[in-house]
Symmetry: D2
């Protein structure tokens, strides 16, 4: 039986690297995978999954209108669906991926953040955490050395920003991972 997987982490943990490795593993076995990333995320170009280690690859893009079930559930030869920036999925799309795993028997492996710069859930992530058959954290460290679980937004001067819209795509320098203690204490502030 296929499963819905969610691999979550704070910013800058290596989610895209991990996704690209899994795609490589499947293809090395002669199996076909389908890659998606969020259209809204154009940091490395629209439809590109780029690792900070220097690896990059084109992917299909999804937005709020993408119907994964219609696109994927009839593809008998598809071994796996891999989705980056999965925090931007709509709740109904998470449900589609859950059904794709359990009715069409195609594994769906999603990578994404859990919480935004205010510590609030991304709706897509909250639904993935609710339905995923297998949840794993990709660990990374805060500037203070502790495990980072939260994210903070900074402005052009590197000063922490506490108010604003949930989604504001910026360079990697607009977001930083933080441990919960630094998140609450504000000690990641510059």
């Amino acid at each position: 039986m296929a499963k819905l997987f969610f691999r979550y982490s704070a910013m800058n943990a290596g989610k895209s690297t991990s996704l690209l490795q899994i795609a490589y593993n499947y293809e090395e076995q002669g199996q076909r995978v389908q890659l998606y990333t969020a259209r809204i995320d154009d940091r490395s170009g629209v439809g590109s999954i780029a690792s900070r280690l220097g690896i990059q690859r084109q992917a299909d893009t999804f937005d709020e209108h993408t119907d994964f079930e219609a696109l994927l559930s009839a593809q008998a030869s598809l071994a796996c669906v891999l989705i980056d920036e999965a925090q931007f999925l709509q709740p109904e799309q998470v449900r589609q991926l859950h059904r794709i795993a359990h009715r069409a028997n195609i594994p769906a492996i999603c990578f994404g953040l859990r919480s935004d710069f205010q510590g609030k859930p991304f709706a897509g992530a909250a639904h993935l955490l609710t339905l995923a058959d297998d949840i794993e954290e990709i660990k990374t460290i805060c500037a203070c050395g502790r495990k980072a679980t939260m994210n903070v937004r900074v402005d052009d001067q590197g000063k922490r920003v506490r108010e604003g819209a949930q989604i504001e795509i910026g360079g990697n320098d607009r977001y930083q991972q933080a441990c919960a203690r630094c998140f609450y204490e504000g000690t990641t502030d510059h």
Copy 2:
């Protein structure tokens, strides 16, 4: 550093047993724990945490007005907070428990369901999944033998109910765990 823990499962996995074991482990070491369960859940009496294995123990109750941070963060001698039926927490209460762990250094271990009878998130569970430092599943099995991750509601005749309010406390016989395949196929129907 203390952590916020979330142990989730479908119905009938042994969440209360696990909570009572952890309380026992702490107390055996001479440490003090505080137990809470949801006031709304009166299946085994208000303020009782009862395991299907036959173990039972009184606990404090929480409702939507409980201020965990005010009650707990100043209790220097408290080794651990244990919360059953944590899917009924308010989002702000999850945030309180997260701060209690990271600012007051008191571990908070929460046990609860992830999704309701329609596969939709409980708000408390979604926020626990978003903020918890450590997430683990307590596994149980569906009637078909596969791992159960979902829950279904049944009526007095054991017939599956698909519409209704999210929260409707009933005997254990009103809710059953199900694997995702049975959840979607309806094969847990009687």
Copy 3:
């Protein structure tokens, strides 16, 4: 596909409770399980699995001559094998359980310690850790409050013992869990 599971922990974490809960979960679904514990462990009577929470149940016993594959792999109606004190298994018996899972499709769930009072592997545990498809820790705490991962042996006066045979069955009071720091520092000494 069935799996070989290993649930490990230090002393006094709740392994037997967890085993008895899983047996209950299967039987509640009308499924048949087979329970084993080590013949050598007679702390609560030969062939008894007893939880510190007060639950107890009879089980078959295994010793180094038990051939699990011969006994179990042909039992078509068996839903699950549950083994307590699994650190006392022989390496070849772990291999049998691995084949029972993957060839006879019967899940085997083993509970046990990882290391002895000197921090050395139990052979059965080392082979379970090597072959298990699913490994999980049952967490407990050291007297100092940190997570316990090690075990220490004490004598009748509660004084730590550092030399001796690997296996020496005693009351729960002959063994204590310890975190790695206390294990090395000797601060669990009385």
Copy 4:
């Protein structure tokens, strides 16, 4: 408190990629890491950690005489030790790394295989599994599509080899990952 980590997998899962990502994450935070790989493994040159994704980096080498405790425990500015091919560690070296984590407070993250081509433990891996504070599997797939947990050795013609020495370094084409069913059935045979 620092921990000893063990990330295990079958062949060709992405262990080296994951190690190189973690090194990158630390260094991006301005922290210093020390990398080791087994001297015996010269597949990509002595002292090179190479990912199948195309990333490569030099590392120190260890052999059975390396004294990690003498080399590392006094390095106050060291944020993390990362060890590839950790199945080749000696048991006493695993103990050193455990003490480095718990006495010198330096995290040690080890990557390696669990079992050899006959399904027998590597001594280094067995001791890591016994002492590690945190164990995680890096998942990969068998040629049949199931999760791979085992390894098989093949000869120059790609034919499975069942007898021989435990350690025989060869190209990636001498070893293949396999699920337990294929491992026992021999269906990965060519």
